[in-house]
Point group: D2
Chain length 339, copies 4
């Protein structure tokens, strides 16, 4: 049983089907195709605003780094959680795309930055002190790296502080769908309505082959020209963009993406219940999405591994177990029974 | 009728089918999957050597720039033709990925660099003169940007000169299949057997959705670790790499890629014959692949456009017409008849 | 006799004296010192405008590259003459400081770009074509790389074309003083009054140890904050900046800089007269500053070298002989007599 | 009384004198001059080895960043103390020069990294995990940012751990002289004999106008060619390099540099004694060089400021007071008496 990552899952059949359907006749290259335009319309409906601009990519690392590169000058820094994906798992992509901007790390329980910690950091900023690297961006992640959620109110407060100091706000939404389902709020309520300027809207972990859409809201949408230049320059303007866009369209139809995320979340909750029945097992963070972070005795971990489970020890301690759209309750039950 | 580019064509059905087949069950992420390993084996067979290392990408710009970035230090330059794709059409991607290396341009008829011109450039290089940017790489393109071919002997001579000065040789093979078919030589004969160190092996224009494979030969294969770090860092290590690799596998099975390229070449030849029947039309360069570069009278161009043809005026003069695997002789004939 | 470069000359005694005088007591670091403020005032007087901002550096390469980096995004290009110092002699500094912008080369006789050539290049620019690297800057050099001058009218016309397409204009004035003396115009007339946005105001070749001042005019002065961040980031904000600024102050007092340049120019003219008396010697470009570019027979060059002359063969053919503030007519005469 | 920084001090008269003496006749440009060659010989004597290569710069930030850029690939990271100058005070210069390498911060009392903390960090490194940025360099500072010293033994242990994992070791010696005087060891004993690969040998704070010499030891000296290319490219190869080198020569003659550092250290000790006599004053770190870090009551700080003292509050709490070669005991006493 594979609990290693939602990126190990296959794509949802609707995604494959959509690719086949997109594969008819000639189409304009590099983003001028009908599929990409349809995706943009769909996103305007889903986010309840026409005031946005988008760019679909096949990689979350690329989407994050490209988005950051147009709002953070190379001489500035990006505030983020110490465990943020952009810090821990992207091989320095933000530094590469921005031309050497710094990540300024902020600790925080449950993978979350608190307003008081953000306030402390912002209080030390002095733009006139040319020797230090001042922040230009606050980057948040929702679902967080520890499987928890920020509420709209929490994000709104952090954004207010950031905007007050002239920073832009980026949201890494690699698992945005999982957060939305848990919070029972709309995409707009969790993003631009609370001030998010740029979103990495991830659908790969939700069920795509590779589809991570950069969404600029409001004034930030003016940077779309600069973004496209950087996308081309970094190899993220594939000629046949329709094959990325069609994945997004398929998942965003009739709420499929939220259904899949809801299922994955439910599987994680079910998984955690079974896990907690085992002696010595305890949760590190609450299960608020499709990931379970837990401490378990060493011999239990051994038994899981020898029983064919796949999962990772997590930096900082404990283990991570991830459920996906394709995880079945029967398989979870069978996996636990086999221990 | 669309003659704008082979990138406007759909993917071959076998490619879509292969993606569907790859879409079963969990798979290791980031290149450790079985599909990618199978692709590597296939390439070893096709290139008749085990002494290679590969990295599949979804973008030719990315493949070129990544390949160049591991063989050209930021303080050095890349020799290439003035009309090379890396100079004209990649929005500065080589400069971005290398950290600011220069492209040093060499003119040449038919999109080809001559040995005497290369010799002249190399003769002026003085590594001890720290003020100038010395070359570290020679980058060639085959099929060239003007639809012509370098023979193995021509490449071999250029490589010999370049290696003699310590340069590595990169081959942009966005349309390698088209060149192979025309030259009736093997992939090995057109690459490592004549000294090519790194190849961008393009399959997108041949019939994939997006599949451009970096292939390192011989000693250059030692840089694969550095390449992977740079691929991850630039967003070109998608988690579900199997969907790129499966495209390559499908096309490389039973010579499908060469069949498709052969068909596209034949269509271009047929197209050029019809074109030359029109008064005032003449070829700019010989048709040696799937592209036709021609001068045509202004009113003819107008008629083509108003008749629904899609094609581009070409920088430097004339027009380019491109055929793809999906171009049908009936459609060409109908297009000409409709003028 | 050393005719290799004006950078081989010692500093003028007034410069050394000024450094000694600046060396009293504590002073604010990093540009907030009185000497640097005095230099700024002096420059406002010399350029007859308060609407400027400055940053003194010790290196012409740094001054050029820093200036370019705040007006050229990494995704754009810089138009310059094929023989420009930024292209030929700065080891890719513009590419490094801009984060990978391209230099787009324009040929032209006597080291000068013509309005018609500039017009041709600008006519091909299409900002919407995301694949190509559009120009953001026109960089001119006066005195040119071939020892000739642009008149204010010539610069004005080029600037008008550039501004018309939204480009900024940079002037590399490594030998600005030599041009001013020849043209008998004021610093203002050769720079901001004809539309120059940013000037590299060189004084090293004029007689400083190392003093090259970036001068932003008009709206470009708003980038001074960004420039300082980049100066610090690239090691061009030395703590004891007063020692650079005091050099500038010394040379700019009572027109010393123009006197020195006038002397160097006169020496070059005298040199060229003697040279032309030799059989087979001819000028490649007119002598309009302190440099002589000449074709001379091989055996004459040999005799010069064996007679102890120092000078360089020039890329593109011929030889360059440079006079400095310290060149004496007696020495020139003696050098020729000794042949 | 100015206790703000040793960079606010003037240069020692011997430095100014040496510049005047270097200012005679023509000299080869760009580092081929006799003064720079003499400096290299002097450094070989001082460091008791011929197995070194040097490059003089005018800026500590440049020297650090250039040194780091040739030993740290852009895909890797540099381990350093959280308070290191390269992290806190160089506006992202290491990121800029390396092309986006990361700084990985390690906390530690008194500005020092402990072997156990280094061991913990190194234990988590897994070069095969391509998503994380592995370290390539350990950068230490001696005198540390908190005015304390590492002993040769302490450095040796840290180096051993770093080398054991394949890392190179850089030493930021902006105040190396101050550390040497305190430790009563030789330059060799504090650098290459304990394994340091690259040293930033600072003399600006000791008494130069601007002279910070990059010194490569042993095998690292092979990178001098790459370093020079990067120095030219970043504007740190001024044509008249002799004026930087002559400063170093002057200070390194007859141990002047150590005398000046010894005096500055003595002044700091004297200062700290007077300070501790004041009610409520206490040291934050031991005084082991020319800097005093102290907690003092707010009203005392006010009195100092209104009495004309210049000094800085220090990030993290308390205040820093710095003595220089030019600080006089009479002035210290007068300053305290005036409170």
């Amino acid at each position: 049983m594979d609990f290693s990552s939602d990126t190990s899952a296959p794509a949802h059949p609707a995604v494959i089907e959509a690719i086949g359907e997109a594969n008819t006749g000639q189409a304009s290259s590099y983003g001028a195709d009908h599929t990409t335009l349809a995706l943009e319309s769909r996103l305007k409906a889903i986010f309840e605003t026409d005031d946005l601009a988008i760019w679909p990519t096949a990689s979350g690392t690329a989407a994050n780094a490209l988005a950051l590169s147009v709002i953070c000058p190379s001489t500035h820094s990006i505030l983020c959680h110490s465990d943020a994906h952009i810090e821990q798992d992207e091989r320095g992509a933000p530094e590469f795309f921005t031309g050497g901007a710094k990540l300024h790390l902020i600790d925080g329980a449950n993978g979350k930055i608190t307003t008081s910690d953000l306030q402390s950091v912002l209080a030390t900023v002095d733009e006139r002190f040319v020797h230090a690297v001042p922040p230009a961006v606050l980057s948040l992640t929702n679902l967080t790296e520890w499987g928890t959620v920020y509420t709209p109110a929490e994000i709104g407060e952090l954004v207010k502080l950031a905007h007050g100091k002239g920073l832009k706000v980026h949201l890494d939404g690699a698992r945005l769908a999982n957060a939305l389902v848990t919070l029972r709020v709309s995409p707009a309520e969790l993003t631009w309505k609370v001030g998010v300027d740029v979103l990495t809207f991830g659908l790969t972990k939700t069920g795509a082959m590779g589809c991570e859409i950069i969404v600029f809201f409001g004034a930030a949408a003016d940077t779309i020209g600069a973004l496209k230049a950087r996308a081309k320059r970094s190899g993220h303007m594939p000629p046949k963009l329709r094959y990325i866009s069609s994945q997004g369209l398929a998942l965003l139809e009739n709420g499929l993406w939220l259904d899949l995320a809801g299922h994955a979340n439910a599987m994680a909750t079910a998984f955690s219940k079974r896990l907690l029945e085992l002696p010595g097992a305890s949760l590190i963070t609450p299960v608020e999405g499709n990931e379970v972070f837990a401490n378990i005795p060493g011999d239990l971990a051994e038994r899981m591994l020898s029983s064919g489970w796949t999962f990772y020890p997590w930096p900082g301690g404990g283990y991570r177990f991830v459920c996906a759209w394709s995880t079945q309750i029967e398989d979870i039950n069978a996996a636990f029974s086999a221990l």
